[in-house]
C-alpha cells in the first residue's frame, strides 16, 4: 500500500513552495518533518527516564539571486509556511554580496515516490510496561553480580516522517523508523571505574527496524556476562604499551571507519565547508583514483541501500535516489560522500548523501551506511593470524585531529593474544596511529558470517550542530604492528 503524506504536510509544503517562487526563488526545497521519539532509561531497579517527544515543523531552503537561504519554523499553518519561505529569501539576499554565486547543483531527475522502513512491531505501539519490564529485568540481572555499582539499560525509538517538495518537481514522502537498545554495567574500586556495555557503548546498538530488533538482542541473557566483565576489569592488568598486532571487534571497527574513513571522505569537508568547526580533510579532490588509503584488504562503500541501516533511505533530503558508492577499492580511494552542490564542483553526479537532522536544519553531506566489505577469516582465524598481540572490544573513547590523520581510540576491554588464542583480560586499552598508515596495516577482515551492520546514532556536524544517525557494516579486523597502550 502506497504511503500518503498527511494533508497538513502537503498544504504547508505547497504553500511554502509557492511563496518562495512568488518571492523570486529560482530553486526551492520545502521539507515538512514530524519526528516522534521515545527514550527509556533504567538505572538499577528504577526507571530514570521515560520521555515521549513529538515535534513537527517546516524547513524551506531556497536559491535566490544565485545564493542559498534557509528558514525553519515549528508550525505548519499557511502563514508560518509562507513566512518561512519569505525569511529564507531574505536570508539568501542578505548573503548575496558575500557569497560565491551562483549556486550550481548536479542534476537529479524529479521523482514522485513514497517509502517506509520495513518492520514487524512498531515500538511506539508496544506497551510501555513490556518495554520497561525487559529493561528492568536486564538491570536486575546485572545487579546480581557482586561489585556492580551501576546497572543501566536503555532503549530509544525514532519515527521520522518527511515530505520533500521541490521546485524541480520532487514529491517524496518517507517514513523511517530507527530502533535501538543496550545495557551497561559499571564497577568501581579505588581509582578505577570500569564499564562494560552490550551490544555497543553509548546507549547500545541501533537499526532501521521495529521492536523485533530489541527482542533479538537478548539483553537479559547477556546481562550477567556484561556485569561479570565489568567487575573482572577492576582486577585486570593494564594494557601494556608497545607496537603489536591488533585485532579489533566489529563495533570498534565501526567507529574507526566512521572517524578515519567516513568523515575525511565527506566532500564538503574536503572542499572546506567545515574547516571553521569540525575541520577539513587530509584528502584532496585530486586524490580520487590515486591515493593509497590502505592495504588491498580494504574495500569500503557508502551504501544507502543496505537493509536495516541507520543510513538507509530511498531518497536523500535533496531528492537524490539512495545509492551504493564505492569509496575505497582494494585500498585505493575511488569516491566521496557528496551532495548535489559539492558533487557539481567536481563535475560528478551527487552521491545521494545530503541529509538534514530535521525540519530546522539544512541538508549537509553525511554518512549513509559506510561499510567495510567483509573478507574471509573467522574471528579465530584472525587471532591465529595475529599470533601474538592484543584483541580490543567495544569503543570507550575517540579522538582525531581536524584533518583526520592522527587518531586515538580507547576500548572498554582487551585480551592478550598468545599463540593465536585469547589469554588474560587487560584493562584501559588504547591504540593510536595515523589514518593511511593504519589502514595500510590492515591484514585481514572477518568473513560475511562475522559482518554486521552497526548503528551510530550520535554523529555531530555543522553549525548549528546537527546530530545524524548513520550506519557502519563491519567485521572484526586484524592490523599488524599498531601502537597500543593504557589510558591511565
Amino acid at each position: 500500500m502506497a504511503l500518503e503524506a498527511p494533508t497538513e504536510f502537503v498544504q504547508a509544503a505547497e504553500t511554502a513552495l509557492e511563496a518562495a517562487l512568488a518571492g523570486g526563488a529560482t530553486h526551492v526545497e520545502a521539507r515538512v518533518v514530524r519526528e516522534e521519539r521515545e527514550s527509556l532509561s533504567v538505572e538499577g531497579k528504577a526507571v530514570k527516564g521515560v520521555e515521549r517527544a513529538e515535534e513537527i515543523g517546516i524547513g524551506v531552503r531556497v536559491v535566490a539571486e544565485g545564493v542559498w537561504g534557509f528558514a525553519g519554523v515549528p508550525r505548519l499553518d499557511p502563514g508560518s509556511a509562507a513566512g518561512a519561505a519569505r525569511l529564507a529569501l531574505e536570508v539568501a539576499r542578505s548573503s548575496r554580496p558575500l557569497a560565491r554565486a551562483p549556486v550550481k547543483l548536479a542534476p537529479v531527475a524529479p521523482a514522485t515516490a513514497s517509502w517506509s522502513t520495513s518492520y514487524q512491531r512498531d515500538p511506539f505501539q508496544v506497551p510501555l510496561d513490556e518495554k520497561v519490564s525487559l529493561l528492568t529485568a536486564a538491570t536486575r540481572a546485572m545487579l546480581e553480580v557482586k561489585g556492580v555499582v551501576l546497572a543501566e539499560a536503555m532503549a530509544d525509538f525514532w519515527k521520522r516522517s518527511t515530505l520533500l517538495l521541490t521546485s524541480e518537481g520532487h514529491r517524496i514522502y518517507e517514513v523511517i523508523l530507527h530502533t535501538g537498545a543496550g545495557i551497561q554495567a559499571t564497577a568501581v574500586e579505588g581509582d578505577e571505574v570500569q564499564v562494560r556495555s552490550y551490544p555497543s557503548s553509548f546507549r547500545g546498538d541501533f537499526a532501521a527496524a521495529g521492536y523485533e530488533f530489541v527482542e533479538a538482542l537478548r539483553l537479559v541473557q547477556e546481562a550477567p556476562r556484561v556485569a561479570e566483565e565489568a567487575v573482572a576489569l577492576l582486577k585486570a592488568e593494564e594494557c601494556p604499551a608497545g607496537e603489536t598486532n591488533l585485532v579489533i571487534d566489529g563495533q570498534q571497527v565501526a567507529l574507526q571507519l566512521h572517524e578515519s574513513v567516513g568523515h575525511p571522505l565527506e566532500l564538503d569537508r574536503i572542499l572546506g565547508s567545515e574547516v571553521g568547526f569540525a575541520g577539513a580533510s587530509f584528502v584532496r579532490p585530486e586524490d580520487r583514483g590515486r591515493l593509497r588509503y590502505g592495504s588491498a584488504a580494504m574495500n569500503v562503500v557508502a551504501d544507502a541501500t543496505s537493509p536495516g541501516g541507520l543510513g538507509t533511505f530511498a531518497y536523500d533530503d535533496e531528492g537524490t535516489p539512495a545509492q551504493r558508492v564505492i569509496l575505497v577499492e582494494e585500498g585505493v580511494l575511488q569516491g566521496f560522500l557528496s551532495s548535489r552542490e559539492d558533487a557539481q564542483a567536481l563535475g560528478l553526479p551527487s552521491g545521494g548523501a545530503a541529509r538534514a537532522a530535521g525540519w530546522a536544519y539544512i541538508p549537509l553531506v553525511r554518512m549513509t551506511n559506510v561499510n567495510l566489505e567483509p573478507g574471509e577469516a573467522s574471528l579465530e582465524e584472525l587471532l591465529e593470524m595475529a599470533g601474538e598481540g592484543i584483541f580490543m572490544a567495544t569503543n570507550r573513547s575517540w579522538s582525531i585531529d581536524d584533518r583526520r590523520v592522527n587518531f586515538n581510540f580507547g576500548c572498554e576491554v582487551a585480551w592478550e593474544i598468545k599463540r593465536g588464542r585469547l589469554g588474560r583480560m587487560l584493562r584501559n586499552p588504547v591504540y593510536t596511529g595515523r589514518t593511511t598508515e593504519f589502514w595500510g596495516k590492515l591484514a585481514a577482515v572477518g568473513s560475511p558470517e562475522t559482518w554486521k551492520l552497526w548503528g551510530t546514532p550520535n554523529c555531530g556536524k555543522g553549525q548549528p550542530e546537527q546530530v545524524a544517525r548513520v550506519g557502519h557494516g563491519t567485521a572484526p579486523a586484524l592490523f599488524l604492528g599498531v601502537q597500543v597502550g593504557s589510558a591511565r
Binding site: 527514550s39 531497579k45 528504577a46 526507571v47 527516564g49 521515560v50 520521555e51 515521549r52 517527544a53 513529538e54 515535534e55 513537527i56 515543523g57 545564493v67 542559498w68 537561504g69 534557509f70 528558514a71 525553519g72 515549528p74 513566512g83 519569505r86 525569511l87 529564507a88 536570508v91 539568501a92 542578505s94 548573503s95 558575500l98 557569497a99 560565491r100 520497561v132 551501576l150 568501581v188 581509582d191 571505574v193 572546506g272 565547508s273 567545515e274 574547516v275 571553521g276 568547526f277 575541520g279 530546522a360 539544512i362 573513547s397 579522538s399 585531529d401 581536524d402 584533518r403 592522527n406 586515538n408 580507547g410 588504547v430 593510536t432 595515523r434 553549525q463 548549528p464 589510558a487 591511565r488
Partner: protein
C-alpha cells in the same frame, strides 16, 4: 530578526501559556511544564565566502506528570494547549507503568529568584543583514588570507511552572563569533561569546586570528614528551569543562565515579586554582534558575586548590541528604547534574607576563576533539589546533605542527604555576559557557604528533 519569526514571546505571553499548560496537565496529577524556545540565525562562512546562512525558531514544551511518586515526561513542539494536554496524557501513561523510583524528588517549590541581566533587544532582533555586515568586516580584515567561521545571533527563552505554584521566566540574547584564518601551512583562531552583538569585537578577533596564522607559517615538529605550556583561555576552557562534567556531578560523586569522590576538603589542585560555578555572573551568560526551577547561586567547587563542593539536582540532592544547588537539567535526566557556568578565577598576571616566565615550552591556542581516556583519573586526550607555538626565553619563536596530548586534568591543575588575569568566555561541545584565563602549566604530556 525578520518579522516572519516573532522575536520574543515575552514574559506576559509566556507566563500565560505556562499557567494554562499547568492547568491542563494537572488534570493527570501533579505536573511541571518547562518551555524552551530559541530563535535566531547563523551565518556561516568558509574560505572567504558565506556558504551557509540559516534562520530558525525552535520550541520544546516538556510536560512532566507525577503519579504516586513516578514521573513521566512527554514533549511537544507546539504551543497549543491541546497539544500540551495530549503530551500530559502521554506523560501520565508513562508514569502509570513505571516502578517506584527511590530517588524521586518531586517538583521544586516556588522560591524567589535572583535577578539577572542578559537580554539585549537589538541582538535578539538582529537579522541576516546585521550579521552580514559583521561578517563582511571579518572577511575584509583577514584578506588576503581566507577566513572561515560563523556569526550567530538570537535569543533563548526559558519558562517553568508547576502545580506547587512555581512560575518563572527568563530571556537571554546571545551572539557568538568564531574566526579561523588559513595560511598555506598554518591556521589562526579567535572566538567570542556575548549576550550582545556589540559585546563582540570582530576587528580585534580578526587581527588576532590573522596574526596567529601569519606567525605559525613554516611550522616545525617537536617530539612528543612533557613540556611546560602556556594554555590560552580556549584550551583552558576544554580542561575545565571536562573536569566539571567528570568531577563535580553530584550523582557520579555519590556513586564513587568522580575523580574527587570522597576527597572533598582535600587538596586536588594548586593553591592558585579556584573554580566556581556562577550562573549569576553578568560577564557570563547569566541564568536565574535551573531546568527544574531551582534558583541559581554561586557554588565554589575548588577554593585555592581544595575541593569544596559538588553540584546537585533535586534527585542527587535527595540521595545526598542535602539541597539542590541549582544544577538540574531538563527531565528526564539520567546523567546527573552538570555545572554549566564555570569560572576559573583569574590570577594577577597578564598572559604576556606568563609567557615571559617560560624558558622553553609550548603555547597552545585551543584543543580539538578531546575525549575522556580515564574518567576516574580525569585523563583526557585531544589535539592542539589553530596556533601552536614554540616558546623560548619568554618569546614565541615559531609555529609547531600539532600534537596530541593525554593529560590528567587535576594533575595539570596541580602543576599550574601561573594564572592569567584576563577571563575569556569559551564554549565547548555540550558543556555550556565557561570563563577561563590563560594558565602556565609545568610538564604537560604530549604523546604523539601529526602531519600539519
Amino acid at each position: 530578526m525578520a518579522e516572519e519569526i516573532p522575536v520574543l514571546l515575552g514574559e506576559e505571553r509566556l507566563l500565560e501559556f505556562l499557567e494554562g499548560a499547568v492547568q491542563a496537565a494537572r488534570h493527570y496529577g501533579p505536573a511541571e511544564v518547562l518551555l524552551l524556545r530559541a530563535a535566531g540565525g547563523l551565518t556561516r562562512f568558509s574560505r572567504g565566502h558565506v556558504h551557509q546562512n540559516t534562520a530558525k525558531e525552535e520550541v520544546e514544551v516538556r510536560v512532566a506528570v507525577e503519579r504516586e511518586g513516578r514521573v513521566g515526561v512527554a514533549t511537544t513542539s507546539s504551543l497549543d494547549l491541546g497539544a500540551v494536554r495530549e503530551a500530559a496524557a502521554r506523560a501520565a501513561e508513562a508514569a502509570r507503568v513505571l516502578p517506584p523510583d527511590p530517588d524521586r524528588a518531586g517538583f521544586a517549590p516556588p522560591r524567589p529568584f535572583p535577578e539577572v541581566k542578559g537580554f539585549d533587544a537589538a541582538t535578539a532582533a538582529s537579522g541576516p543583514g546585521e550579521r552580514a555586515a559583521v561578517v563582511a568586516e571579518v572577511l575584509s580584515l583577514c584578506r588576503p588570507l581566507p577566513a572561515s567561521g560563523y556569526l550567530e545571533t538570537g535569543l533563548e527563552e526559558v519558562g517553568i511552572a508547576n502545580s506547587l505554584g512555581l512560575m518563572a521566566h527568563h530571556a537571554m540574547s546571545r551572539a557568538g563569533l568564531e574566526i579561523l584564518v588559513e595560511a598555506e601551512d598554518s591556521t589562526g583562531y579567535a572566538e567570542s561569546v556575548s549576550s550582545s552583538l556589540s559585546g563582540l569585537d570582530p576587528g580585534a578577533m580578526s587581527l588576532k586570528a590573522l596574526a596567529k596564522a601569519e606567525k605559525g607559517r613554516n611550522p616545525r615538529e617537536v617530539p612528543p614528551g612533557a613540556y611546560d605550556v602556556l594554555l590560552e583561555p580556549a584550551a583552558v576552557g576544554t580542561l575545565v569543562q571536562f573536569l566539571g562534567y567528570l568531577a563535580f556531578d553530584g550523582k557520579a560523586y555519590l556513586e564513587g565515579r568522580s575523580p574527587i569522590s570522597g576527597r572533598l576538603g582535600e587538596k586536588v589542585a594548586s593553591e592558585l586554582v579556584t573554580l566556581v560555578d556562577d550562573a549569576l555572573d553578568p560577564r557570563g551568560l547569566p541564568s536565574p534558575f535551573d531546568f527544574e526551577g531551582v534558583p541559581k547561586r554561586k557554588l565554589v567547587l575548588i577554593e585555592k586548590g581544595i575541593a569544596k563542593a559538588v553540584c546537585h539536582d533535586l534527585s542527587s540532592a535527595r540521595r545526598a541528604g542535602t539541597e539542590s544547588t541549582g544544577h538540574g537539567l531538563p527531565r528526564p535526566n539520567s546523567e546527573g547534574p552538570v555545572p554549566l557556568h564555570l569560572r576559573l578565577e583569574p590570577g594577577t598576571e597578564p598572559e604576556q607576563a606568563l609567557l615571559s616566565r617560560m624558558e622553553r615550552g609550548i603555547l597552545v591556542t585551543r584543543f580539538h576533539y578531546s575525549n575522556v581516556l580515564h574518567p576516574k583519573r580525569a585523563v583526557i586526550t585531544g589535539m592542539t589546533r589553530d596556533g601552536t607555538f614554540w616558546v623560548e626565553e619568554g618569546e614565541i619563536k615559531y609555529g609547531l605542527k600539532n600534537l596530541r596530548f593525554a593529560q590528567g586534568i587535576l594533575d595539570a591543575l596541580a602543576a599550574t604555576e601561573g594564572v592569567g588575569s584576563e577571563l575569556e568566555l569559551v564554549k565547548e561541545f555540550f558543556f555550556g559557557i565557561t570563563q577561563a584565563p590563560a594558565l602556565l602549566v609545568r610538564g604537560f604530556r604530549f604523546v604523539s604528533t601529526t602531519t600539519f
